[in-house]
């Protein structure tokens, strides 16, 4: 299918959860705009409660929108929910696997929900079990799977209908580093195959690895968007100097740095000094030079680290908060 319109297009998209009992109504998504082209991989980045899952559910046509407009695959999710869902793959934030069924049966029945013939499912299930590295577990009850395996099965299951768009809500949250890397590898493989991805995360490295384009959301609003490199370029510097001081020296050191030559930068990112609970960040084009300046000021950090700027730094700049508290 060749189409000219975006795969997903949101204009002033809003979600208000109605009041319930003593909880007042809540504006979880507050007028966001974005458009997504075929083959792109698109990330929603933001802290807990930013409205990422809510946005994903609206795109997946499982949560009615409260305002604005939303088109998914050229259709209206409020009216053509089943048609849209037929062409999406969805990995929700929590794995909702069918605990009464085995691994293979989970794939089978999911295919049936999409109305696929049994023979087609059988062939795809074998391929997907391979993809998810779960061949040995095919006959096991899903209760016996580890967290990483459950996640991979959920992703495999979401691919059973060969979706046009794959939605992944925090695909690696709660996984250990090894399981996360296996998963990234699988997702990167899908991206290479041209699958359009929408994913939410609060991991900067994940967004950098998997997304071509990002929107940063906070309190239901978009606070920035662009490619990971653009965002870093715009909201951070090339390098960051991380300094740790003894607790009793930290505040005076930070104060000194703030008023030093390091904090007089030209662009709005350059030369910023951030005081975090456990360290001080100096945003600079040249970390080594900045460190030399620090030493010249006769400050004695316990540790000093020069690193590349990441999206974490972007987020800090945009919201004044660290992403994961």
């Amino acid at each position: 299918m060749v189409s000219t319109h975006p795969l997903v297009e949101a204009r002033d998209l809003t979600k208000v959860y109605p009041a319930r009992g003593s909880t007042p109504e809540f504006r979880a998504v507050d007028g966001i705009d974005f458009a997504l082209e075929r083959g792109e991989s698109f990330g929603l980045l933001g802290p807990n409660g930013a409205g990422k899952s809510t946005t994903m559910r609206m795109i997946a046509a499982t949560s009615p929108i409260s305002g604005g407009s939303l088109r998914v695959l050229g259709m209206d999710p409020m009216k053509q929910g089943p048609e849209i869902r037929a062409r999406l793959g969805v990995v929700t934030q929590d794995d909702h696997l069918d605990n009464e069924l085995t691994v293979r049966e989970n794939l089978h029945i999911y295919g049936r929900y999409f109305g696929l013939p049994r023979a087609v499912i059988r062939e795809r299930a074998t391929r997907l079990l391979d993809f998810a590295q779960l061949q040995e577990k095919a006959g096991d009850q899903v209760e016996t799977l580890s967290g990483g395996m459950r996640r991979r099965l959920t992703i495999a299951r979401s691919l059973i209908n060969e979706p046009d768009i794959l939605l992944l809500d925090e695909p690696t949250t709660g996984l250990d580093p090894q399981a996360r890397h296996i998963l990234w590898d699988r997702l990167f493989q899908l991206k290479q195959q041209g699958v359009t991805l929408i994913l939410t995360t609060h991991y900067m490295d994940e967004a950098e690895q998997l997304c071509d384009r990002l929107v940063v959301v906070d309190h239901g609003r978009i606070v920035a968007q662009g490619s990971p490199q653009e965002l870093i370029h715009r909201y951070a510097t090339r390098e960051v100097l991380e300094l740790r001081f003894r607790l009793d020296e930290r505040d005076t050191a930070a104060e000194k740095l703030r008023t030093s030559v390091l904090a007089t930068g030209g662009t709005d990112a350059e030369g910023r000094v951030e005081l975090l609970p456990d360290r001080v960040l100096v945003y600079t084009a040249d970390g080594e030079a900045a460190l030399a300046t620090v030493h010249a000021m006769s400050l004695t950090p316990l540790t000093a680290l020069v690193r590349r700027a990441t999206l974490e730094d972007v987020f800090l700049k945009l919201t004044g908060r660290s992403l994961i508290e």
Partner: protein, 260 residues
């Protein structure tokens, strides 16, 4: 605030959920056999045991057990269907979160409701077939019209499966199930399962006749005793209406609860 439209159901999609439920049943028939234990015990102890003391029911010329059997068959269909959409659905909805995974598929909430009710109807029919077979083996079948009990059991299952589904949308937690018991048990005991309506004082009878189980029992017992008449259309209409109203309430409330 835009309201949620309740989409129409599609046969193919609702069927997929039935397939799911039967994938689990296929592995073991224990749930169905379990559903037969209690009614058989009641048939033996009250139908046969107490039946020896009762002799025959006034105006009915069959042994007491043959009088009670069809009523217990109706309650079996009722309980099987009702348990599946009350206890079963509650667990799938709140504990196992089975439906959370189904929502992102083309199935609508209405499809889920229809799928669950239809599975429950099939189960109700299967246990009814089992119970009827045992009645026949025990020599408690007195008229060939008893075969009408099978379509009747589908209708009874429909009414109570839909009713169970509707009630489930109001439950907050497991202890709330006791309030359901508070309705189901008296209905079981008083809806003419064990004795005819004539036992009650005139004034109480309309109350009994308002119960869905009363109509379910009428629908099975009358043909089983060889009494066919147009009056049977009353329970048919009652159960159809009861089930359809319950179905309407259930799908609306489920849609609202699940598509937030």
């Amino acid at each position: 605030m835009t309201t949620v439209a309740v989409p129409a159901w599609t046969r193919r999609r609702a069927l997929a959920l039935i397939e799911r439920n039967f994938m689990i049943y296929r592995r073991s028939v224990t749930p169905l056999l379990n559903a037969l234990v209690e009614p058989i015990l009641y048939l033996l102890s009250i139908g046969v045991g107490v039946g020896m003391l009762v002799g025959t029911v006034p105006g009915v010329d069959v042994p007491y057990a043959a009088y009670v059997g069809p009523a217990i068959l109706a309650t079996t269909a009722m309980n099987t269907a009702f348990n599946q959409t009350s206890f079963g659905v509650f667990i799938r909805m709140r504990v196992e979160k089975t439906y959370e995974a189904i929502l992102p598929t083309p199935l609508s909430v209405t499809d889920i409701a229809v799928g669950e009710v239809t599975s429950a109807m099939i189960n109700g029919l299967l246990t009814s077939i089992g119970f009827l077979t045992l009645m026949a083996v025990g020599g408690l079948v007195t008229s060939a019209w008893v075969l009408l009990a099978l379509p009747a059991s589908l209708l009874i299952s429909y009414a109570f499966a839909a009713g169970g589904l509707a009630v489930t949308t109001y439950l907050r937690d497991f202890p709330d199930f006791q309030y359901i018991q508070l309705f189901m048990l008296p209905m079981y005991l008083f809806a003419t399962t064990f004795y005819p309506l004539s036992v009650y004082p005139e004034a109480v009878r309309p109350l009994i006749q308002a119960l869905p189980l009363y109509h379910s029992i009428e629908l099975v017992r009358e043909p089983a005793l060889g009494h066919l008449s147009w009056d049977l259309l009353i329970p048919v209409a009652y159960l159809l209406a009861f089930g359809s109203v319950a179905m309407y309430v259930a799908t609306r409330r489920m849609t609202r609860a699940m598509l937030r």
